[in-house]
């Protein structure tokens, strides 16, 4: 009998949780963060989340995650990667440039991945995102200046 009571109690808890948060129709700031994360990944890989090449349950998040962080350059939008090669800088500098740029890409992609996590509460919040993005931009501007000259 006590077993039955326990089960009923658990059932009540689950149902209350469902009605409270309206499972299936939940709207929260975390939802916007997911869209932001996906947008971020799309921005730097040039791939839509509905890209037809994703198959077998793969999505933009898992596609990027598979190549992160070591093969980030392979999945970037081709128009972004082509740039440092076109620039006619000495070979040493070019290599320096790619590694620093790669670092920026990795930090940017990391934010995109952290925002598009499946579990809403684990997603990065907008306060941290804004702070991180501004930090990356500062570093990017700095490295641009030192490498350019």
């Amino acid at each position: 009998m006590s077993c039955l009571l326990l089960r009923t109690y658990l059932l009540i808890k689950v149902l209350l949780y469902m009605s409270e948060y309206g499972v299936g129709s939940e709207v929260s700031t975390h939802g916007d963060m997911y869209s932001f994360g996906i947008l971020m990944l799309e921005m730097f890989t040039g791939r839509r989340p509905t890209d037809e090449t994703f198959e077998g349950g793969q999505n933009l998040h898992s596609f990027v995650k598979n190549s992160f962080p070591n093969n980030v350059l392979q999945i970037l939008d081709p128009s972004l990667v082509a740039k440092p090669e076109q620039a006619t800088i000495e070979e040493e500098n070019t290599q320096n440039l790619t590694t620093t740029i790669e670092k920026h890409f990795i930090s940017v992609i990391r934010i995109g991945l952290a925002c598009s996590l499946e579990s809403p509460n684990e997603r990065m919040n907008i306060v941290d995102v804004t702070r991180e993005l501004n930090k990356i931009k500062r570093l990017f501007l700095l490295s641009g200046k030192t490498n350019g000259k």
């Binding site: 009998m1 039955l4 009923t8 059932l11 009540i12 149902l15 209350l16 469902m18 009605s19 948060y21 309206g22 499972v23 299936g24 129709s25 939940e26 709207v27 929260s28 700031t29 975390h30 939802g31 916007d32 963060m33 997911y34 869209s35 932001f36 996906i38 947008l39 971020m40 799309e42 921005m43 730097f44 040039g46 839509r48 989340p49 509905t50 933009l60 939008d77 128009s79 972004l80 740039k83 740029i101 920026h104 940017v108 499946e118 809403p120 907008i126 306060v127 995102v129 804004t130 993005l133 501004n134 990356i136 931009k137 990017f140 641009g144």
Partner: protein
């Protein structure tokens, strides 16, 4: 003696004393023993009997002594009849026996071992079914309550649309050459967007005309008006005015007027091949970083800085517009949600029906 106790022993109804102790009897105690109504002494100790003590034995009125010690019996000891008197009982040496009166000092029987009788099972099912039905009704009622609450809000908020300066249908009609397709710059779920000018100024504006035939379009108009009427941020599209009147045919006409964004949507820049526009250039890393920072600060404003928390619910490249200086402005608040910070600490609201876009909406929403 060895072998089983024959169940036909129940036919010896005159039997008063039965001593079977110290043999090698096996098998169970036959329940037919209960028909020996005049039995006074029953001693079956030091055998190899197994199974349980038949409950019916407690109905033998004259039984004064009952001994089954040192067997291999298991199960529950009855508590009535001869079993009420501990001094008349011998049950020692049966490690699996349980229950009985407290004087025997045996462990209580586990609930599982109790055989649930049929009507008990039915009662259990009835309790479970009624509990489930009750909880379902409860959750349905709670959901209805919530939906009502959700529906009330917009109707309270809608009069505030009037605070925006209004513009007539005629001036919008003139400003877009009668909503000609050459001025059409985009169309969404509930609306078409035209490029046009307003009467008094030469300024180019974007006019979002709601397709009121579509279900939900009217609601989306109110939601967007409420979301945008007071927001002020450099990374949000600026609403200039709205129009809520009737067209020349006398039908309802609703439109929102926004600042025009010359560089189109982020969608057109990220995927230029799919749309044959004049934008053939691609965005640099620098520009992309800036656009992401713009979108992030717009979201930061909506979620944390505005008086109410606003959830956009449909953030995607086609809803991010770029102005002359490539500064990003988040637009299209047609399915946005306003959250009252005071009432919801967890910052959540329930939506009713309209969802975001596949690919951009979080898992669980679609």
């Amino acid at each position: 003696m060895s072998g089983h106790i024959p169940s036909t022993i129940g036919e010896c109804i005159m039997l008063e004393y039965l001593y079977l102790e110290g043999n090698s009897l096996q098998g169970i105690i036959p329940s037919s023993l209960a028909s020996l109504k005049s039995l006074r002494v029953l001693d079956m100790s030091q055998n190899h009997l197994s199974g349980s003590i038949p409950n019916s034995l407690q109905n033998i009125h004259f039984l004064e002594y009952f001994n089954v010690s040192f067997n291999m019996l298991d199960g529950e000891i009855p508590t009535e009849g001869v079993f009420r008197n501990a001094s008349a009982l011998g049950v020692a040496g049966n490690s699996k026996l349980c229950g009985g009166i407290s004087e025997l000092h045996l462990p209580p029987c586990p609930v599982k071992a109790k055989k649930l009788e049929k009507h008990h099972m039915f009662r259990l099912y009835a309790i479970i079914v009624s509990a489930v039905v009750f909880l379902l009704i409860l959750s349905v009622m709670l959901t209805i309550c919530r939906m009502r609450k959700g529906n009330k809000k917009p109707s309270l908020d809608s009069p505030r649309i009037d605070q925006l300066a209004k513009v007539s249908f005629q001036s919008l009609h003139n400003g877009t050459n009668g909503f000609s397709t050459t001025n059409l710059i985009g169309s969404g779920n509930f609306s078409s967007v035209y490029r046009g000018t307003l009467d008094l100024e030469d300024k180019v504006v974007a006019i979002k005309v709601l397709n009121l035939q579509r279900k939900g379009a009217h609601k989306s108009f109110i939601v967007e008006c409420n979301a945008l009427k007071n927001v002020r941020h450099r990374n949000l599209v600026k609403i200039l005015t709205c129009c809520s009147s009737t067209d020349y045919k006398g039908q309802d006409f609703k439109a929102l007027v926004f600042e025009y964004m010359r560089n189109g949507s982020l969608e057109q820049w990220l995927h230029p091949r799919t749309l044959n526009t004049e934008h053939s250039r691609t965005l640099s890393l620098d520009q992309r970083l800036n656009i992401m920072i713009d979108i992030a600060s717009a979201l930061h404003y909506l979620h944390h800085e505005y008086e109410q928390s606003i959830i956009h619910c449909d953030l995607k490249p086609s809803n991010v517009l770029l102005d002359d200086d490539m500064v990003a402005h988040v637009g299209d608040f047609g399915i946005a949600r306003l959250l009252n910070i005071n009432s919801t600490t967890s910052k959540q609201a329930t939506s009713t029906g309209i969802k975001g876009t596949v690919g951009y909406a979080p898992p669980g929403i679609m």
